[in-house]
Amino acid sequence: MQRIINKPDMVVEDMLKGFVKAHDDIVMPTSNPRVLKYKDAPVKGKVGVVTGGGSGHKPAFIGYIGKNLCDAVAVGEIFSSPTAQAFYDAFREADSGKGVACLYGNYAGDNMNVKMAIELAADDGIEVKTVVANDDVASAPKEERHKRRGVAGEVFMWKIGGAKAALGGSLDEVIAAAQKAIDNTRSVGIGLTPCTIPAVGHPNFEIKPGTMEVGIGHHGEPGVEVCEIKTADEMAKMMVDIVVPDLPFVEGDEVAVIVSGLGATPVMELYILYNKIEELLAEKGIKVYKSFVGNYFTSLEMMGATFTAMKLDDELKELLDLECNSMGLKVFGK
């Protein structure tokens, strides 16, 4: 393994220590070593915004702690849900008495741990409501949308939910905004190489050189098609053809777009991909209002990319444009 690690079992601990040191202007540790919080959390009078998930997806999840974004994050082992305790502690760190919006991704482990954490929080009188991201089109047919996984679209869910909370929204309003964000968001990924969990030491799944996997998940969950590797333009077309009809996005729509690398793909190539995606959307009369190209939601050193689109209305635009400051996402206010 050509990796920069100490003990493979300790990568999350070591990473968290470095992260807290590097970003002490934004984040703070808490009494639970697996929970980080925004330095000003709980923000008085504001609904708390919490997320959490397995590690190895940097900037997700802790990279989205910050001003007008998430207040506290529960941190799991690599590719493994945080404990119920961590979610519960994150709720406590984020709650200012206005309740907590827990905005997380649709994975079996996370669902179970959040559910148990909410029970614990209820005993303390902390009101927690959830939005479960399910933007990954390839992970289940449209009729079974509730089974779909959450992927890079979660970034929009946090941005919108975080902004609504920052503007003084009530818990129900924050939940409604975040739910609207994810309901209007669709994603798809293409995987080009697998990745290796340090404690495991060998790739978790296989992608044969010369092939690519369309619709792959963030942990190597199977996609919809394995085929010969295509040109960037053809990849863009496959992605657009999966994402656009699903919502559907239609002529006249304005969208926000994320093209995220999976970790090891050179950022140059993400721009090559975005170039064609934007062109294909324009051909369909769909206008890109704002785009985010870079590593926003990764899977260790996987190669490949995800494409995410969120259909906008005036409210979502205003919330998207609100200033925010985190390691993973910095937006200057207008």
């Binding site: 397995g54 493994s80 404990t83 119920a84 961590a86 079996a108 482990g109 495991v200």
Partner: protein, 214 residues
């Protein structure tokens, strides 16, 4: 009637801890074949912490099970923490007010535990998970009690059904969890969770039979 005292039951949980510790590498090895090879690590971490905590504690069976359940919920993320955490928490709750553990009390314990895990994890028989051990083991126990067999006999039936359940996963195709990625390729090897579940059920049965003999 066969029974043992709740206050003598801590040893049951200590034996569970020992069982997992002794099988740590084996569990990871099994998980490595079609999973990510960390099942032994995940389980060992939680069970060992529980062992430390119980070592010098004055706890009865209920409190010991509760400690185990709580530790699993606190220390193991993923699916195993909440699933096994719920399993042992429910067991603990079902015997909290029982000074003595007899075959009816344990029937409540195991059925409540199964219900909790099933509700939380939503896996069905045949999905190639620990449910393929837990469901038949509980059914076998229930059937033995219905047939009015002794506590010990019911425990032995439960243990035997768990072993068979584990073996049955070998021929299954995974429909839940990581291994489901492999489709047909997941056939031919045991499911890691069902291996650990079988070990836990067997250990529970053996410990209780030993206590009954005292």
């Amino acid at each position: 009637m066969e029974k043992f005292l709740n206050k003598d039951g801590k040893v049951i949980v200590l034996n569970l801890v020992k069982t997992i510790q002794e099988n740590k590498d084996y569990l990871s090895e099994v998980d490595g074949l079609i999973g990510d090879g960390d099942h032994g690590i995940n389980m060992n971490k939680g069970f060992t912490i529980c062992g430390e905590r119980l070592k010098d504690a004055d706890a009865d069976l209920s409190e010991s099970l509760k400690t185990l359940g709580r530790v699993l919920l606190t220390e193991i993320g993923g699916s195993m923490g909440p699933l096994y955490g719920t399993f042992f928490n429910r067991m603990a709750r079902s015997c909290k007010d029982e000074p003595e553990i007899n075959r009816d009390v344990f029937k409540k314990m195991i059925n409540e535990a199964l219900a909790g895990v099933s509700e939380l994890g939503n896996a069905k028989r045949g999905d190639k998970t620990l449910m393929d051990v837990l469901i038949p083991a509980t059914e076998a126990y229930n059937k033995a009690i219905e047939e009015n067999r002794s506590f010990k006999e019911a425990l032995l039936a439960m243990k035997e059904a768990a072993r068979e359940g584990m073996e049955s996963t070998r021929d299954m195709v995974a429909r839940v969890g990581r291994a489901s990625r492999l489709g047909e390729r997941s056939r031919g090897v045991l499911d890691a969770g069902s291996v650990s579940c079988n070990l836990l059920i067997a250990s529970l049965a053996d410990s209780m039979i030993a206590l009954l003999a005292n």
